[in-house]
């Protein structure tokens, strides 16, 4: 019964008019930040922190949290409509969402994103209320060996993002890992492929690469085509997901919420990784995996549900242990300390009004975001009616601004342009971009944790086989690699009949 009291206490705080107002402002600002490409939640929260000084700490945190999860809602919009991932966690949304838009189903994709986000976001808030302490314990049990094997599991899913040609997909994966090695060696601290440039010490930024490959590549391809072939000449269609869409996404939402919440709570994984993993899991679970990448609504739903569920997960270690689990949460933690609050193991008992107030406000915020975003779909969709010659310069302006804002450096702009050209060529010769991006995200985390693990064990790989979590994860990897072969052997007769249909 204690939890009911706590939730009531929380609502008592969160429903105060001033807190409701700032929750709304946060959600609105978050949506806008999510929509603007490049300006992700990290930058958004950082920009708005100074405004919050002098405000009540609870009110300020409610607003900043609203920006954080609001950005996850907004991120889907440009991914779906114009193939511009608003922030890194929406890359997987763009893969199928944009294809849906091309097929005139942008409304359904946006609607499903909004609902998926709402369900994932709200469920993760409930998770935060009910099972935060055990989840926090789980997060702590992830050391370098566990992260290494988890990332390996992520890379094992790479084959499933590969598209039609496995060879090309894997090749792109290796390229992504190679690009991920630019910067300081994670253990020796020596420079690799930096050409002596300080800008490259931290590696090649994910946002610039993603916007180059996706947005710029798409623009270049579209300029080339004749006006009649242009993407946006298609009809817009229904604004809401249909009943069959809902049926298709029923279990996707459940699975992606769990994956998103758990992976989001791991310091060092985060929303982007959780969206990748949820997408890959859905493709694996699907009876028709070949639709993924061609406009499968489950793909959009998985990525958006997971990245919103991850926001609740990410606050678990912060609010229960005082440990930041992602870059955005680290900024939030800095802000809390400036307000005079000290996030730590004692926060929950010393300031229950803070903990429960913020958490329940997130629940309210998720409702606000749904109400805010559903009518906006009709508005956003009008972007598709803007003639392409007008739209291109605007997109270019925004993605350039976005790439620059990430680090405030022109180098990121050049990187984006270079990857734009690469993205164009990849599209031309039918190389998939998603494996490259997945490897770029996972590769450096994997390398770092491999090296740290081996340093911990003084060079012995036995460390990966002596820990319970790593063993479970290794079993999952083996399973995911062997399973497709088992399936194909088992249902060989059947597949022979279906194959011609699959491959057009």
């Amino acid at each position: 019964m204690e939890i009911i009291q706590n939730v009531l206490l929380g609502f008592g705080v969160a429903l105060q008019p001033i807190n409701l107002l700032y929750c709304f402002i946060g959600c609105l600002a978050g949506t806008l930040i999510g929509v603007l490409p490049g300006i992700g939640p990290v930058t958004g929260v950082a920009i708005l922190i100074p405004i919050t000084f002098g405000m009540d700490p609870i009110t300020a945190t409610i607003m900043l949290a609203g920006i954080y999860y609001g950005a996850m809602y907004g991120g889907s919009t440009t991914s779906i409509l114009i193939n511009v991932p608003g922030e890194s966690a929406s890359v997987m949304t763009a893969v199928d969402g944009y294809q849906m838009a091309k097929q005139g189903r942008a409304g359904a994709a946006l609607g499903m994103s909004a609902f998926g986000s709402f369900i994932g976001g709200s469920a993760s808030v409930i998770g935060l209320m009910v099972i935060a302490p055990p989840v926090a314990k789980l997060a702590l049990s992830f050391g370098p060996p566990e992260y290494f094997v988890l990332m390996l599991l992520g890379l094992a899913t790479l084959t499933r993002l590969a598209g039609k040609n496995l060879f090309k997909g894997l090749g792109m994966g290796f390229l992504g890992m190679l690009i991920g090695t630019v910067g300081l060696d994670p253990v020796a601290g020596v420079q690799r492929f930096t050409f002596g440039r300080a800008d490259l010490l931290d590696g090649i930024g994910f946002v610039s690469v993603a916007m180059g490959l996706f947005a710029l590549g798409e623009i270049l391809i579209n300029i080339e085509g004749s006006p009649a072939e242009r993407v946006f000449s298609t009809q817009i269609g229904s604004l809401m997901p249909t009943k069959s869409d809902w049926l298709a996404c029923k279990w996707t939402i459940v699975r992606s919420t769990i994956i998103g919440f758990l992976i989001g709570s791991l310091p060092g994984a985060g929303a982007t990784v959780s969206a990748f993993m949820a997408y890959a899991a859905e493709k694996k679970a699907s009876k028709t995996p070949e639709r993924f990448g061609q406009g499968a609504i489950e793909g959009v739903c998985a990525a958006e549900t997971a990245n919103n569920a991850a926001t609740g997960g990410a606050l678990v270690p912060l609010l229960t242990l005082g440990i930041p689990s992602s870059a955005t949460v680290a900024i939030l933690m800095g802000a809390l300390m400036m307000y005079g609050l000290r996030p730590g193991p004692l926060l929950l008992t010393e300031r229950p009004d803070f903990f429960w107030g913020v958490v329940t406000s997130m629940y309210i915020g998720n409702v606000m975001l749904l109400v805010l975003n559903l009518p906006l779909i009709g508005l956003w969709i009008k972007i598709l009616k803007v003639p392409y010659p007008v739209l291109i310069p605007i997109i270019l302006l925004f993605i350039s601004l976005g790439a620059y804002t990430v680090g405030g450096s022109y180098v990121d702009l050049w990187i984006m342009f270079a990857f734009g050209i690469l993205g164009y060529l990849m599209r031309k010769f039918d190389y998939p971009a998603a494996p490259l991006l997945l490897a770029l995200v996972l590769g450096p985390i994997m390398e770092k944790n491999l090296k740290l693990s081996l340093k911990m064990s003084q060079g012995s790989i036995a460390i990966f086989f002596q820990r319970p979590i790593t063993l479970i994860l290794i079993a999952l990897i083996v399973f995911s690699l062997v399973w497709p072969f088992l399936v194909s052997r088992f249902s060989k007769g059947k597949q022979d009949l279906e194959l011609p249909v699959v491959d057009e």
């Binding site: 929260v45 020796a188 601290g189 010490l201 310091p267 242990l321 003084q458």
Partner: protein, 339 residues
């Protein structure tokens, strides 16, 4: 026809923007030319680290207290340019004219990146303005650790060299150097595990993935207060005067048998070659800020920092002495990468 119209309006717009740009430049220029009343416009402060981090917070509190005390006529323009352990932002600040309208952070990180061979400029190629605070290091363990004192830890590390895992922040940052100094002073060898952030260090300590960690008081305080983490010793000369329930019983390293004291520091610097009047104005302003009650309340006490004030040439001298010490240590530990 339509196209030409569009083109014309674009050109017109560009001219208008250009004109506005020139106009504002002219206004600013005339203000500056008068020279006597520095600062005649807001001073941009380049923070070479991400928002929300230790340095960023310090600069934001400087700005806030400066406004509260009316020391700065206009708010600072805080610009975060993070990357490469501060190298990116500092390089950017150094590329600006030394006219008093670009300042940035000075810290021991400049020394460390120089020694690790990751800086494109010499560590002391700045106009030193003022050093504002010190941050100490602690060796911390999990509450249930078998190491009750610093002596226990040192004895264990001596018995089996390179087996005691100690976590710290970064692989080419100051923690590496401070652990090397500790090893030298106590005659042991640890197995140093470098994580990306202080948060990750504490996470891995709490998770039991490492045996000990090197962390600043601010990084460990909440965990100590909650009884999750114990501090075996602090690198200061005297015991720390913060929250006495937590820090009163934490011995200094010297008390605990390791004859070493060290610290990190932060301050303010500008591009090389700033005019003396401007440096003096800034020193004066920072002195007023750091002597205020507000600074103690909003920064030092809140973030467990120890205030110092070392300005101009004295600060440069200290940095140069520190560089020599660190260089010797790194040579001894085989870490020196600089040619």
């Amino acid at each position: 026809m339509k196209k030409r119209l569009v083109l014309r309006s674009v050109v017109r717009m560009a001219l208008l923007i250009g004109a506005i740009g020139m106009l504002s430049h002219a206004v600013v220029g005339s203000g500056y030319a008068a020279g006597t009343n520095y600062p005649a416009k807001p001073i941009p402060f380049v923070v070479p680290y991400a928002p929300g981090g230790g340095t960023d917070i310090m600069v934001r509190v400087i700005d806030r207290v400066g406004a509260q005390l009316k020391v700065f006529p206009r708010p600072l323009v805080i610009e975060n340019k993070s990357g490469g352990s501060g190298v990116v932002g500092k390089s950017y600040a150094k590329s600006k004219p030394a006219d008093g309208y670009t300042i940035t952070c000075a810290d021991d990180s400049s020394t460390v990146v120089d020694l690790f061979g990751n800086a494109p400029w010499p560590y002391n190629d700045f106009t030193y303005i003022a050093k504002l605070n010190r941050d100490y290091q602690m060796i911390v363990v999990r509450a249930d650790s078998p190491y009750k004192t610093l002596k226990d830890l040192v004895a264990a590390a001596k018995a089996q060299p390179k087996t005691v895992k100690i976590a710290g922040t970064g692989v080419s940052q100051i923690d590496v150097l401070h652990v090397a100094m500790f090893e030298k002073a106590s005659g042991v060898k640890f197995n140093y595990i470098g994580f990306d952030s202080g948060g990750q260090v504490i996470t891995n300590l709490l998770g039991g993935h490492v045996d000990a960690a090197i962390a600043n008081p601010g990084e460990a305080y909440e965990q100590m207060r909650a009884g999750k983490v114990r501090s075996l010793g602090v690198s200061s000369e005297k015991r720390l005067g913060f929250d006495s329930a937590v820090f009163k019983d934490v011995p200094t390293w010297k008390e605990a048998g390791v004859n070493l004291s060290l610290s990190q520091w932060r301050g303010v610097a500008g591009p090389k070659g700033m005019a003396k009047e401007q440096v003096d104005w800034l020193i004066d302003a920072l002195k007023k800020i750091t002597e205020s009650k507000e600074w103690h309340e909003q920064y030092l006490n809140k973030f467990l920092q120890v205030g110092v004030f070392v300005a101009g040439a004295d600060m440069q001298k200290e940095a140069e002495e520190e560089y020599a010490v660190y260089k010797t240590i790194m040579e001894g530990a085989g870490l020196l990468k600089k040619k």
